[in-house]
Symmetry: D2
């Protein structure tokens, strides 16, 4: 089979590979809609997960089942399915503890284009089909559904980590596609004021459509000062970090009330340490909660999030600024993510077989 | 001063009373907008809280501060304020345990028209002004804000008790004003499908506007069967009970998945026992969580909920079907709650002094 | 192979059966220590789960692995293992939601001597060996470890459901082996006063050793009155129900503070309804939380609980009043559970092959 | 009146001051047992809270009520009372949000020897007597009870922040008096293995008595390596930080499993930043929860913790290595805390009037 792959750090290209094999619990799928992710860019051009050779890229997909293992009960050949970026080993002790994304080791629930080939091939392999696939709801656009693979669950998980409650003031730092989903998630989880931090006009526009009440442009001054001013010096109840770097947490802590919570969903690829400002953190005693986490993954999560799209609570298609048809456009779509033109939020490629 | 009072069980009328006295932590307010509640009806005509004589009714109000105690720090004469139906003693051990509505005893955070005169008088007394008042946000309509005294916090508390999560299927049983606020709360807390159980057409219409996806009319068949059919036999994740009687919980349990949660916010005035169906409750082992609770009350809660109105997440004014001007209409408004004409959801009386 | 079985309602005996087959994820074990449970008695003599024919009984065991499926990674032939009474399907949507004991349907995580043969045979089958077995810690007595199959996790789950916190006053109703483990669990979860409700002297003695501060004998008066007297009318913070019948919840609710929590771990085999007393439940508004649930099951749980035994936080061997050697004593042990002689808490049978 | 005071940074001495005044909600107490705290040392010799002049020191006390305000309901002159180090304003919005220790601002629930005179005077002032005092249980030793003012609640709060569950492996870094209480708290909250990090032999001995299973001596090698070795490379489930400096969190994160939690209760007086190691924190995605917080304070907390002493779950008197009689020994006791002789854990001064 053919696939679009990382050839080595900094290099991509089409390769030929043997078709994936289907274990008794697994499924093999053809991609119907796929999307490149900033993580793919980090993987290839920054070597974020180390060197990889001839590894097919991609972890966001809607697919069609072409083969299922003997023990698979709930899916059959021909099913149209949503596939989560994170596909846990559900019987691991980590999953039993509620942290399925770390099944088999920290972050090890992330398998596509990490420990095995990703979804940008003629075929891709899904471990534990019953546990990790979800039927594409009838009538749902595969391109929109493709956002449920990673963008929606990651953004929404930020909101869960930050534990947003009715009437909370929430800052969302970063309004790329994941940050925008954090804005949308905060709005439908009960936030009142949502301070969306970003500078790109089209992202700011979409952030407002998803429920941001204020856009905080870091080009127009320190974001902490801007947010403290808007909250009369009191700060916010919750912060979701969906962008920035190892210095962003310090800003989040500074704008946060005692008893507030920070949820980080930004992959931090560089730097030795993330810093907590001692004094603003109450000298270790301010009850400012900090956590960051990989999205949960798995079947139930996909089903739940898809139900929000079905009931029109959430329209993830607003993220899609560049829609391509045909597998051959995979490379073009990935390069968009790399080059980030001004009008880009998220590209998607749909495929007819 | 003058007030509209319960004279005894089944009897109401205008009475003259001495003005309330202001303790060092307290405030005295004039009512600016008030609303009668079904509880007032239960209090007077069903004797729900026992006999009371010459007790001024009402616990839903927006007011103007006319006097404050010496120790009050954050409010002053002339402030326009929201007043919660529940005004806890914040230093009680119950409040310290997180159950301020039960400060001083079960349900004893409810003081207006229960342990003391209510808000349907020329003046009313608020204990612990700093802890229990909240400034009316500039520009907010007092009539709409009056819904934040009881309807919004009660409905939203049902959603909190049921612990609604992203993508949950939620049944809301009862779509009077409190149930409608539970529908609205479920929608902005992340529910997907919301099954609103009721029969009155205007309530059903408003329920849809607040986010109900399905109206379940009990006149058209068993509600459990209807909901199980709509969920393909799987049942719902959460139930908020905002109406019915001591038999309603059995229906809620039956339509609920294992691991599901029921939040009751319906005051149950009659019957010896509420019944849990043994088999549907998994013979005591089905992890179907049950809790019912009085709304939290207090200042922070009002501020948080008001911020949802300010940011247009919630428009409680849709509840108001009958708006009166002038204190003298208090009786008419209360009688509407008693007689429940078809087109009624909630009456409000605004007062100019 | 041979096994001690339920022949039909009210009838037991030794039968011959085909050896169980081992699927790719499964293990086949020989029993090393087994214990009968009151559930076995309910199953046989009360028909609690319906009629069953020639079904081998038993769900509490420590075993030796004699065969493993091809996909099993962490266990091998010869391993000595603890086996939980509840062996979930970990990739089910119910397990993904945190309710693995209801995987595949309410209570359906319970498979031994329910949907398949139990552990009282020459061999028994364990589904998902990696997810459901745990190595017997070196040096741990198999008979004591056998208590970790059901007694410890069930009792401790009651404490978790009741959500015991530092300094809570806790009532444990019922001090059979499960109730005793609830007493022990409450003590090592931070309870202060533990009111253990029971009448049998040996159980009362062991309850004290496990941390009960007060024994409440229902033969000496109403248990609610006794507990209210001991708490100066304030009631308890938490109740664990580990005995009684459908009327016991009403007692629990009555002795509970507002904001308190009841955790039920008693299988209720009879009666149509469990009753909540309306008034004592605050007319539906007293924030008295009610939940009952089957023990979690699975590997991690066993490992965690075993670590409490290893570190001498818990000594489950105090439960064992009758220790037998030899498979042939299975029947005698079960009859003890049925006849409940005065000095019985729990019998165990150890087997040498 | 007379009091032992901070005269300025680095200077202490006896001063004369006007007696404190009693507001309507307050109480004035005489000290019966008091203890100096490391915080007092930081306050005086490190200027941790800035400069203060003629401020009476001390925040750990058991006292006798000598005056109560007019609105005080539950205490009267002559009552023997426990006094928490943290005395919140219970009607503040922070307390309403569950963070009473930050009432009026971050850490501002700490008033004694911070915003007002402390307890090392002839008399001391307690704000909100009903909310912040607790009766000394009959028969309880005032010296032991004095440990409930700060040592017990701080140590136990670390255990709550780290959210210890049944069978968790817990590291407690630092085994001064607060760390020892964290060890004790972890043991009675259900931890199995408790790795207590410290080097002083008498503290190590007491740590074992309180439930530590392993003493990790930092003088004998890197503590992370030692703990990883003891956990076969898997790390611990929970860490309580009760000592060290701004670099300690990095160690805690490194020894922690994904999904693990760190609770910090160590006041960090120096350094600009606390550092989270990026890679060990899963590049921001490892679900390693971090929080630090000041002890809760208030009446209910004291009552709950005292009930653990009453029921013999906890014996805080093991902390007391140096017991003095007579107010005049206050200085000697404080100097012990400053000089930390080898055999010191905690000094207490009892006073007869």
């Amino acid at each position: 089979m053919k696939g679009f792959a990382m050839l080595g750090i900094g290099k991509t290209g089409w390769i030929e590979k043997k078709n994936p094999e289907c274990g008794p619990l697994d499924a093999i799928c053809r991609p119907i809609a796929v999307a490149p992710c900033t993580s793919d860019v980090h993987t290839v051009w920054e070597g974020a997960i180390g060197d990889r050779h001839d590894m097919i890229l991609g972890h966001e997909a809607v697919g069609e089942v072409v083969e299922v293992g003997k023990l698979v009960k709930d899916f059959k050949v021909g099913d149209m399915v949503m596939v989560p970026a994170i596909t846990p080993d559900w019987n691991s002790v980590e999953a039993q503890a509620g942290f399925q994304m770390h099944s088999g080791g920290m972050l090890a629930g992330w398998k596509f284009s990490n420990f095995k080939d990703g979804v940008f091939g003629d075929y891709f392999h899904v471990n534990d089909a019953d546990g990790n696939l979800a039927l594409l709801p009838e009538g749902m656009d595969p391109a929109a559904a493709c956002m449920i693979a990673d963008m929606v669950p990651t953004g929404f998980h930020g909101v869960e980590l930050a534990d947003v409650q009715f009437g909370d003031r929430v800052a969302v730092i970063g309004i790329g596609p994941v940050g925008l989903m954090a804005v949308a998630g905060a709005a439908i989880r009960g936030a009142s004021h949502i301070y969306a931090v970003g500078s790109r006009p089209n992202c700011a526009q979409v952030a407002k459509e998803y429920g941001a009440t204020d856009i905080i442009n870091y080009r127009q001054g320190d974001i902490v000062e801007q947010i403290l001013e808007k909250t009369k010096g009191k700060g916010v109840d919750r912060v979701v970090i969906a962008g920035g770097n190892v210095d962003t947490l310090a800003q989040a802590i500074t704008m946060l009330k005692p008893g507030g919570k920070v949820g980080n969903i930004n992959y931090l690829g560089e730097g030795d340490y993330i810093k907590i400002p001692r004094s603003e953190w109450g000298c270790g005693m301010g009850h400012k909660y900090i956590v960051g986490g990989l999205m949960p993954g798995g079947r139930l999560r996909m089903e739940k999030l898809a139900s929000l799209v079905e009931t029109h609570r959430l329209d993830p298609s607003k993220l899609i600024t560049h829609a391509f048809e045909g597998f051959e456009n995979m490379e073009k779509a990935l390069m968009l993510m790399k080059d980030k033109p001004k009008d880009l939020i998220k590209p998607v490629v749909t495929i007819k077989w």
